[in-house]
């Protein structure tokens, strides 16, 4: 279990942030403000400072995580008990803070792009961006199957009784709410307000595909996790909950970040739209 927690530290506070940081540095190096001014509404030094802060936050989280895990190990604490399930989750929440800050800053960045854009020309692609067009049928079927399967498994653990506000009831409610929220967020992302006013429609489509895949993957993970948690509960294997939780945290972080990064490669993005001289 300690090994898994150390791996969680390394994955979520070192490896994945390093991938993100590398990408951010590549963008500003290969597509600098001097040649692509429309991409950088703020001063260049602010972006460099932000990248450095992001790296530092992750390094601090990494060290703090290692200290906690090694400390518990040295104290001989047995973390293979149900109430220690919140340890990997708590670590995960802290490890996700820098990434959430990056996500929030991305929204601010896009808002700044929209405020900066004074062009009267608007461009859109004439390709429908519905779920059917964006995901493979197998992934869609996997999503539906995991959702319904999780509900069935949870119902089975309660002998299909579903006592109101009982454990099984609450678990199913969580699965349903998480999937609905995921679906609504996806709908907003796919056909909601245009966030980047310069983005090439082909890039928008590619980004939509990557994010849809990532969100579907997350939804499947939530459904499976909730079902397995419930099974562990009723089979009195609660000591495995911390193991399940750390696996879950690592899988969702690795899966969602790498799916998006692989789906939207820098080489495929049309950065010419951010040149000052770019005419549609």
């Amino acid at each position: 279990m300690y090994l898994l927690l150390l791996i969680q530290c390394a994955l979520l506070s070192w490896y994945l942030p390093a991938l993100l940081h590398k990408r951010m540095r590549r963008v500003i190096t290969e597509y600098p403000p001097s040649d692509f001014p429309l991409l950088y509404p703020k001063e260049e030094h602010e972006y460099h400072a932000f990248h450095a802060k992001f790296l530092l936050m992750n390094r601090v989280a990494f060290v703090a995580g290692m200290v906690v895990v090694v400390g518990l190990m040295l104290l001989g604490v047995n973390v293979m008990q149900e109430h220690w399930m919140m340890l990997p989750w708590g670590m995960f929440m802290v490890q996700m803070v820098p990434i959430m800050i990056v996500e929030a800053s991305e929204f601010n960045h896009l808002k700044a792009l929209r405020e900066q854009n004074k062009s009267s020309i608007r461009v859109a692609g004439m390709q429908s961006r519905g779920l059917k067009e964006l995901v493979a049928p197998s992934l869609f079927i996997g999503w539906i199957t995991s959702f319904l399967g999780a509900i069935l498994v949870v119902a089975w653990t309660d002998n299909f009784e579903f006592a109101f506000l009982g454990d099984a009831y609450s678990t199913v409610l969580i699965v349903v709410i998480m999937n609905i929220l995921g679906y609504l967020y996806l709908r907003w992302l796919l056909s909601g307000k245009r966030l980047d006013p310069y983005q090439d429609p082909e890039d928008k489509l590619r980004y939509s595909k990557a994010v849809t895949k990532s969100l579907m993957f997350l939804s499947i993970a939530v459904s499976v996790f909730m079902a397995v948690t419930r099974v562990l509960d009723v089979t009195e294997a609660q000591y495995l909950q911390p193991v399940l939780m750390t696996f879950y945290c690592q899988i969702i972080a690795y899966g969602s970040i790498t799916t998006t990064l692989r789906g939207v490669k820098l080489e495929d993005i049309n950065f010419d739209v951010y040149r000052q001289s770019h005419k549609v």
Binding site: S120, I121, R122, V123, A124, G125, M126, Q127, S128, R129, G130, E133, L190, S191, G192, K193, R194, P197, P201, E202, K204, L205, V280
Partner: protein
């Protein structure tokens, strides 16, 4: 991917810019019959336009049998879109009105009487 472009500062109404470009794309086979079009909401948000503007463009294209709406399944390019793209309903309206005005004048109606009759008919 076919891209559509509008200029919000142009004198040409936005819905006309949309209908003209879609018809032009169909006429040049850039959009083929049966192709699914973006939803009104998606296109309006991508172009940062009001939903009503795009809805009006789609309504006019459907009236001209260039596109067809299939409810929740979406909006598609009509199978006969290519031959209908070249037709302009306004030309047809002008031609019919000219014919009618000609008939009325031959029957002895004055231009004022014809104008009053048209206005009353439009007000009904």
């Amino acid at each position: 991917m076919l891209q559509i472009m509008v200029d919000i500062d142009s004198d040409v109404p936005l819905f006309t810019q949309l209908t003209d470009q879609i018809k032009s794309a169909i006429a040049s086979d850039a959009l083929l019959p049966g192709t699914k079009l973006p939803s009104i909401r998606q296109l309006a948000n991508d172009l940062d336009l009001n939903n009503k503007t795009v809805a009006k463009a789609y309504r006019l294209l459907e009236r001209d049998t260039v596109i067809q709406s299939k409810g929740y399944r979406g909006t598609f390019v009509h199978p006969d879109a290519k031959q209908n793209c070249g037709q302009d309903i306004n030309d047809w309206i002008s031609a019919e009105v000219q014919k009618l005005v000609g008939v009325l004048r031959e029957g002895g109606a004055t231009d004022s009487e014809i104008r009053i009759a048209f206005t009353n008919a439009m007000n009904k």
